[in-house]
């Protein structure tokens, strides 16, 4: 498979999860494993452009796929400048992260969310965040950060 633009080839066991493969074989340690059962959203990555819980997919299922983690955030947001992407800057400005554990998954899935729905209603942002647990911020700052980018 291709991970953040680099071709990764490995022989794996069928039971290896995509989340473990990305961290272990591909070195993509931004993929955070929170709950390991699809509830927290921290391990969300893009597989062929679609947001996926890496802990709920077998690595074998992503054979020949293009996987993007937060290391591909520029591409996910279509951002060609230097430094932080607009979403990353907004998260920083609005204090939308504290410990940062949930942030990589949030940034990946929010980039795809905004690409598909550039002017979301507040209700749609809240529904989008339904799949991501954050234990630090209380979500209000995350909503503010996303709203600022969406405007």
């Amino acid at each position: 498979m291709t991970v953040d633009g680099a071709r990764v080839a490995a022989r794996i066991r069928p039971r290896e999860l995509l989340s473990d493969f990305l961290r272990g074989e591909a070195g993509a340690t931004s993929v955070h494993i929170g709950c390991g059962q699809g509830l927290c959203g921290a391990c969300t990555v893009a597989v062929d452009g679609v947001p996926v819980r890496a802990c709920l997919m077998l690595a074998a299922q992503a054979d020949d796929c293009v996987v993007q983690t937060v290391a591909s955030q520029n591409a996910l947001e279509g951002f060609t400048g230097a430094g932080l992407t607009p979403l990353q800057s907004s998260f920083r400005e609005h204090h939308a992260l504290q410990c940062g554990f949930c942030t990589p998954g949030l940034l990946v899935s929010t980039a795809i969310f905004l690409a598909e729905n550039p002017r979301p209603a507040r209700r749609e942002i809240l529904e989008h965040l339904n799949g991501h647990l954050c234990r630090c911020t209380g979500y209000a700052n995350i909503v503010a950060a996303i709203e600022a980018v969406a405007q």
Binding site: R15, G38, A60, E127, G131
Partner: protein, 277 residues
């Protein structure tokens, strides 16, 4: 967490997938319910058969009497489908309650149905509408079974058939938290006008498997377009449950489920857009 060891197969046709089925084999579609079972080792198959690359199973088709969905139609794909919105309002309403947008992108309609967790959303819709499965047998035949019948061993559900139900649909559930599987889910579908109308009700989370509530539907029909109070629905619900054993688990006990169900049905009926029933 790591699942127990298994072999993995990725067949490229339904026939090849069915040929691999056996007592210790499991089909894998979206995996949003099944992979958690694997990592908790609640499921320990010898062989996982990944059907995701079988062509021709991701379509939503209009047949004369039914809407046909392949086993790889994703929940979000169905929710956004113009066909579903026009012909299956109650299913469109229910799909918005299933999990969250990322899970819905990967999880499948057929998977939600066949996993059939107590309280799950789509089994309630399937019971309300009388959905059917198309199954492929080992000798290559396609057969039709009711969605509430057990799927015979050694066969694969290739499609679900939803009877076309233009009109209004309502859905409501109580759950421990938003986006979590329902404790009790109710689906209400209404076709026709204020004089001649047909109402169907499906309920999930009361018994181990979902229930068609014909007596409750009769009470709703008599009062339509008004929606009776929950206590007026309770005796009919008792009649629909009849002798079936009630379901209770750590999410909620049987008494709570029974107490809350009439109100869940009432809210599902109330949520239907006015003037479309």
């Amino acid at each position: 967490m790591t699942p127990a060891a298994f072999r993995y197969a990725r067949p490229d046709s339904v026939a090849a997938a069915v040929a691999l089925l056996g007592p210790r084999a499991q089909l894998l579609a979206g995996g949003q319910s099944f992979v958690p079972l694997l990592v908790r080792r609640a499921a320990r198959p010898d062989l996982v058969i990944d059907i995701n690359r079988i062509p021709g199973l991701a379509e939503i088709d209009i047949l004369p009497g039914a809407i046909r969905m392949g086993a790889l139609v994703r929940l979000e794909q169905a929710r956004c489908s113009a066909i579903v919105r026009a012909e299956l309002a109650v299913l469109a309403a229910a799909l918005g309650w299933v999990a969250n947008p990322v899970i819905r992108r990967r999880g499948t309609v057929v998977g939600n149905l066949v996993m059939h967790a107590p309280g799950a959303e789509l089994p309630a819709v399937a019971m309300a509408l009388g959905a059917e499965y198309l199954i492929r047998t080992p000798d290559g035949k396609t057969e039709t079974i009711a969605a509430h019948d057990p799927v015979p061993a050694g066969t694969m559900v290739t499609h679900v058939l939803w009877p076309r139900r233009p009109g209004a649909g309502g859905f409501y559930e109580v759950s421990r938290r938003e986006g979590h599987v329902g404790v009790v889910s109710a689906a209400v579908s209404c076709t026709g006008d204020a004089v001649h109308h047909d109402i169907r009700v499906g309920l999930s989370g009361i018994c181990k498997t979902a229930l068609a509530c014909n007596a409750v539907a009769g009470v709703l029909k008599a009062a339509w377009p008004a929606v009776p109070a929950a206590r007026a629905l309770a005796p009919a619900l008792r009649a629909d449950i009849a002798e079936r054993p009630l379901h209770g688990d750590l999410q909620a006990g049987a008494n709570y489920r029974l107490a809350v169900a009439p109100e869940v049905i009432r809210r599902a009926a109330q949520s239907m857009p006015a003037g479309r029933g």
